[in-house]
């Protein structure tokens, strides 16, 4: 997929989101106009309007360029490889869904599991899994890092800040 195609799909998705917000999200989940000041929906409508206008404008720009057969800059007509220089703010490039899923799933499972399994166990298992997923195969290091991190965060939360430890308590 070229970058220009991907951008077009993104703009269409943004326009779709904006239409959904304007027709359902904002009217349903905003309080009624109280009779003074501006309507509670005003700023929300304006910000969604800006998003929709800009996405529409960008899409129009692409459409005009494509239908008038203007030569596209290389970085837009072909999909760019990941930028080498990533010290700045953005790292435009391919979305690697497999990598994203493998990193996100253990984190999501941690959030779900911590409601039922005590913090100490679930954090230890999470850290082992996470390190394994990112490629660590040194089992001693896996266990040592997991134990130390779990213990340090436990001590900091419980004795340092006095906040309740998430999940069922065993200690």
């Amino acid at each position: 997929m070229t970058r220009i195609k991907r951008d077009s799909i993104a703009y269409l998705a943004i326009i779709g989101f904006c239409i959904l917000m304007l027709t359902w999200g904002i009217p349903t989940y905003t309080p009624d106009y109280p009779g003074y000041g501006a309507s509670p929906a005003l700023v929300a409508n304006v910000s969604v309007g800006i998003m929709m206008f800009m996405a529409g404008l960008s899409l129009l720009n692409i459409a005009v360029a494509v239908y008038m057969s203007k030569p596209m800059p290389v970085e837009e007509s072909e999909f760019p490889e990941d930028m080498e220089e990533d010290a700045g703010f953005t790292q435009v490039g391919r979305v690697k869904l497999k990598h994203l899923a493998s990193t996100m799933i253990p984190c999501i499972l941690l959030v779900v599991a911590i409601e039922y399994i005590p913090y100490v166990f679930v954090s230890f298992i999470f850290l082992i899994t996470f390190q394994y997923v990112i490629g660590s195969r040194n089992w001693i290091q896996l266990i040592v890092v997991s134990v130390i991190l779990t213990a340090v965060l436990y001590i900091v939360m419980r004795y340092g800040f006095g906040v309740p430890i998430p999940g069922p308590q065993i200690f």
Partner: protein, 514 residues
């Protein structure tokens, strides 16, 4: 005068001194690790400051930010991998010196230049913020509304190649910032029947997700796809002259340091430009004005001085718009603004009236942080050099777990951890698709203030749509906002056309060759 003395004494309390010291030390350590920068460090450590007093918390975070700015230079000089974007120019001369075995000399130059820029900038901040804030007090809601509109427009250009995508991101940030209680009716809005959203989204999980978690997702991608591996650091020369920096060598760059500091102060005081711009501008000026132009890029101490003095000067001067107008000029200051709000203060000109003692305490902490930076940098230089090679297998799980627990710490809520993961996911796509997460975050932070100003304008003017035309400053600011949009669009179109012409010419050349 009593306030000034009381504030300064507060900043000298043992707790305050200890946390400023810790902040600077942790900041240098974190900044030295490639991939972790100041704003990210602030996002990760804001939850910790929940349990501190306002002065201690702000002193700690300011120290963290100052330390991270210098820390970025450590990996830039030793590995040519800038720990922070603003340290990129430092690597141009720092790394060649490391290759010559003079890495320690380069780091000393970076440290002293950083401290110089930072100190000069802090003094300027102290001298001008309070008088400017007194002038800013004459601004009404119409001016504040117009000013925030201008700031959001200027900031929309950061971190993206397209202003339209920047504006979309800022507008999305405003929309997300509106979730929660509406200021006029005090009823909940845009909660989608999720009761946890009733009080709005907390800044901490949103910031940790966007700044830290999404960054780690991207770095892990590179690490797992391309493979990690330790980078080797060149050995230092055994010649003591190559390891130390003499007074003569340092003062030879005196003019460059002062010029760099001034550029940093000027750039930092303008919202939206940021430290990388100051650093590159200062380097460029130093090279143009230097007698030894040919040495630049090959290991000129002056080059390191120019870059470091300018980027460190931005740290304090970027707080000028925050203290004077309540507007964050860059990401690090936006995070600091969040910290102020968490501790019950609304940054802006009124802070000098409502929290005068605290403000002078913060000034004291800023100066002390400069001093600590010098001491910590001088004594811990060799230790920080080792931090650049921390194994990724230990670093990434630590940061990810800290992100998760940091998000939890804010309100002891696993819902916030879910919010953090969601914004990490959104941040990943924003970066990949070139949408400015900086604009999003600043829009998110400024949304309540922007809406409050608008509501005040509407109520005060009794629905008079010509309100802005009766306020010349507000009108001027709105006109400036439109000018910025049109000018940026024009420049974008111009650069797009230039690219098209270049592509067409390249294709024509290829056909000819075929």
């Amino acid at each position: 005068m009593e306030m000034i003395i009381a504030g300064l004494l507060d900043s000298l309390s043992p707790a305050s001194l200890m946390f400023v010291f810790l902040g600077v030390a942790i900041g240098v350590l974190i900044g030295a690790i490639p991939g972790i920068n100041g704003p990210m460090a602030i996002a990760l450590f804001i939850p910790v400051t929940y349990y501190m007093s306002a002065l201690t918390a702000i002193g700690f975070l300011v120290g963290l930010n100052k330390g991270a700015f210098f820390g970025g230079a450590v990996s830039a000089v030793l590995l040519r991998t800038p720990g922070t974007p603003e340290a990129a120019a430092t690597s141009w001369d720092g790394y060649p010196l490391t290759q010559q075995g003079k890495g320690e000399k380069a780091l000393r130059m970076a440290l002293y230049s950083s401290v110089t820029g930072d100190f000069v900038s802090t003094v300027v901040l102290i001298a001008i913020a309070s008088p400017l804030a007194a002038v800013a007090l004459f601004m009404g809601p119409a001016e504040i509304f117009a000013l925030i509109s201008l700031a959001l427009t200027v900031i929309a250009g950061i971190g993206t190649s397209s202003i339209s995508r920047g504006l979309m991101a800022a507008a999305f940030g405003i929309l997300v910032g509106l979730i929660g209680t509406e200021p006029v009716t005090a009823l909940t809005r845009l909660t989608f029947d999720v009761y946890q959203l009733g009080s709005g989204l907390s800044l901490i999980p949103v910031a940790i997700g966007l700044l830290a978690f999404s960054e780690i997702l991207l770095q892990l991608e590179k690490f797992t796809v391309k493979g990690g591996g330790k980078q080797t650091i060149h050995e230092s020369s055994s010649n003591p002259e190559d390891r130390t920096l003499t007074f003569k060598e340092f003062f030879a760059s005196g003019k460059t340091l002062i010029r760099g500091s001034m550029i940093g102060i000027g750039v930092g005081a303008m919202p939206g430009l940021g430290a990388p711009v100051a650093s590159f501008m200062s380097y460029d000026q130093a090279m143009k004005r230097s007698k030894n132009k040919e040495e630049f890029g090959k290991g000129a101490l002056e080059g390191i001085g120019a870059s470091e003095s300018a980027n460190s000067a931005v740290v304090a001067s970027s707080m000028i718009p925050l203290f004077v107008l309540g507007i964050p000029g860059n990401l690090a200051v936006a995070m600091l603004m969040g910290a102020f709000m968490i501790h019950g203060m609304q940054p802006g000109p009124l802070m000098f009236q409502e929290n005068a003692q605290l403000m002078y305490g913060i000034y004291g902490s800023l100066l002390i942080a400069s001093l600590f930076l010098l001491v910590i940098g001088r004594l811990g230089l060799r230790f920080f050099c080792k931090a650049v090679n921390i194994p990724a297998m230990i670093l990434y799980p630590t940061v990810v777990f800290t992100c998760i627990m940091g998000a939890y710490l804010a309100r002891s809520s696993m819902f916030d951890v879910g919010v953090m993961l969601a914004f990490g996911f959104i941040g990943y796509f924003m970066r990949k698709f070139d949408y400015s997460y900086v604009a999003f975050l600043i829009g998110f932070i400024l949304a309540p203030e922007w809406e409050r100003a608008l509501q005040q304008v509407v109520i005060i003017s009794e629905y008079d749509t010509y309100m802005f035309f009766q306020r010349p400053v507000a009108m001027g600011l709105m006109a400036l906002t439109l000018f910025v949009i049109f000018r940026t669009c024009k420049l974008n179109i111009k650069s797009g056309r230039k690219k098209q012409v270049e592509t067409a010419a390249a294709k024509a050349g290829q056909h000819k060759a075929d």
